[in-house]
Amino acid sequence: MLLLCCLALFPLPVILLGQDYLLTLGTRILIYGLAAASLDLILGYGGMVSLGHAAFLGVGGYTVGILAFCGYEGRDLLSWPLALPGTENGLLVWPLAVALAMGFAALTGAVSLRTRGMHFIMITLAFAQMVYFFFSSLDSYGGSDGISLYGRNHLPLLDTGSDLQFYYLCLFCLGIFLGGGHRLVRSRFGRILQGCRQNELRLQVMGVATFRHRLLAYVLAGGAAGLAGVLLANQGEFVGPGMIHWTRSGEILVMVLLGGMGTLVGPVLGAATLLTLEEYLAMYTEHWMVFLGPFLILVVLFGRQGIYGMFHRSR
C-alpha cells in the first residue's frame, strides 16, 4: 500500500523538476514490476522456477505490434477463413493479447508442469527460445529488427500518448494485479498453491489434483506478463525479439530474487532497484553489470527475503 502511494506521487517531483525522462524510467519500473510480480506468483508461491517468463512479454507485445503493423500497411492479418484487419484499438488488442498469452501459458504449462526442478527450468527456457526464434525469423513482421510503432494503442477517455497518463495507466494495471494477487495468495486457491511449493506429495495424498491448481496459477501469471508485454510495446512504441530473449527472462528472475520472492510487492522493488541501477551505473561505465553482480550477491546472501525483507524488518 505504501509502495503504491509512493509510486502514485512519483510523477509530481519529476514534473516539477522537469526531469521528464525519469517518468519514462518510472513507467518501465511499473511494467517490469508487473512482469516480476507475476513471475513471483508462480515462483515465490507456487515454487515453479520459470526461466521463460519473457515469452509472455513477447506474445503480448507482438500482438500489439503485428496488429498495429497490419493497420499501417492496410493489409489483413488473416484473409481466410475470415478477414481480420489490423487495429490500434486498445479495447480489442489488449484483451486479445492477454488471452493469447494465457493460451500460450496453458499450452506450454500443460507440458512443462509435468516436470520438476531443473527440468522445468530448462523446458520453460526452451519454449521461450522457440518463441524468440519464431519472431526473429518472422520476416514479414520485422524479423530480428522488430517492429516500430507510429503511436500507442488508442483507449477511450485516455490520451495514451501522454506519458503522464500512460504512467498512471501502468500504475493502475500493477495496482490491480498486486491487489488481486494479495487476495489470491490468502484464498483457498492460494493456500493450495503454496502447499504445492512446500509439500506437493502430501497434498496429492490428501486427494488434491495439484496439477490443475498449478496450471491455473501459471496461466494467470502468463496473462499478467502478457499485459506487461502489451504495456512495454506501447511504452517504447517498439517490439522486437529482444524482449523475449532468455536474458530478459533472467532479468525478471533477478528482479524477483532481488526484491524478495513470495512477497508480490518485493519484485516491484526489485524491478525499481535493477532498472535504476542500470540507468545510473550505465552513465559511468558500460560494464555496469560488474557492479551489479556483487550487489546482487550481497542482497541474496544477507537478505533472506531480498530488499523487501530488509525493509520489513527495519520497520
Binding site: R186, S187, R188, Q194, Q198, R202, V205
Partner: protein
Amino acid sequence: MAGRVSMECSTGHGEVVESPVLEVTGLCKAYGGLTVCDRVDLQLLPGELHALIGPNGAGKTTLLNLISGLLTPDSGRIRFLGRDITSQPLHHPDRQGMARSFQITSVFPGFTVQENIALAVQVRAGNSFSFWRNTAADPDLQEPATEIMERIGLAARRGVRAADLSHGEQRQLEIAMALALRPRLLLLDEPMAGLGPGGTRKLTDLIETLKGEMTIFLVEHDMDAVFSLADRISVLVQGTVAACGDPASIRRDTRVREAYLGGTERAAAD
C-alpha cells in the same frame, strides 16, 4: 513359495457380519526380481484397529503405499467402501474417506500449525477454486481446525510454524492433518517413529481415543503400543501375510516368534 500357508483371519468374535471397509486380495508388487508384496490378502473391518507388524524390509510401507495409491500394484485388487480403487489416481473421488500419515514427517513446514490443519480441512471441504476470500478469516475452516488442535493438544502452539515444532509435535501435527480429513479409514505409518517413551505413551493414548470412531490401520514397530491398541494384528514377512489374528493368538504363534521376534521372549513377557 511351497511353504506358504493360507491363513483364515478371525475377528476374535467368531463371526464376520459387516462388510469390510478395505479389502485387499492377491496384491502383488515387484521391483525387478525383488518381490516386495506377494499375494497379500487383508480385510479391515469397520471400527477396528488393525495393526501391521513385521521385520524391516518386510514390505509394510510398500503395502501402505499401494493402498493409499502412491504405488500401483502389478496384480491384485483393492476395494475401499465397496469400490475398486486399485488403479484409481490419488485424487479420485472414490479414494475420499481415506487418510494417511507418513513415517517421515510430511507437513507444510512454512505454514503454522493452524494453517496446516486448516489446509487439510479445506481439502476435505472439497472446493479449492476460490480466489478471493481470506482463508484466515473463514470460520468454516478455522473452527474445525481449532477443534482438532484442542483434541490433539496443539492448541497452545497454533501460531508456530511447523518447521519450528519439536519432532514429537510434528508427529502430532501429522496425525492432526489426517484427522482433519475426517477419514473413514486412517492409515498410520509408524507414528511412534523417533519418539521417546513419554511421546510414545502420549500418542498411544491419543490413538486409543480415536478407536471406534474410524477404522485404523496401524503400521508400527513399538510392540507395547501395538499389543495394547490393536484389535487384530497381521504379521508381514517377506511380502506375505504370515499370520493374522487377535493379539493373544499372535503372541502364541510360534512362526511369528521365529520370523519376527527372533526367538526373544519379549512379546510373551508382557
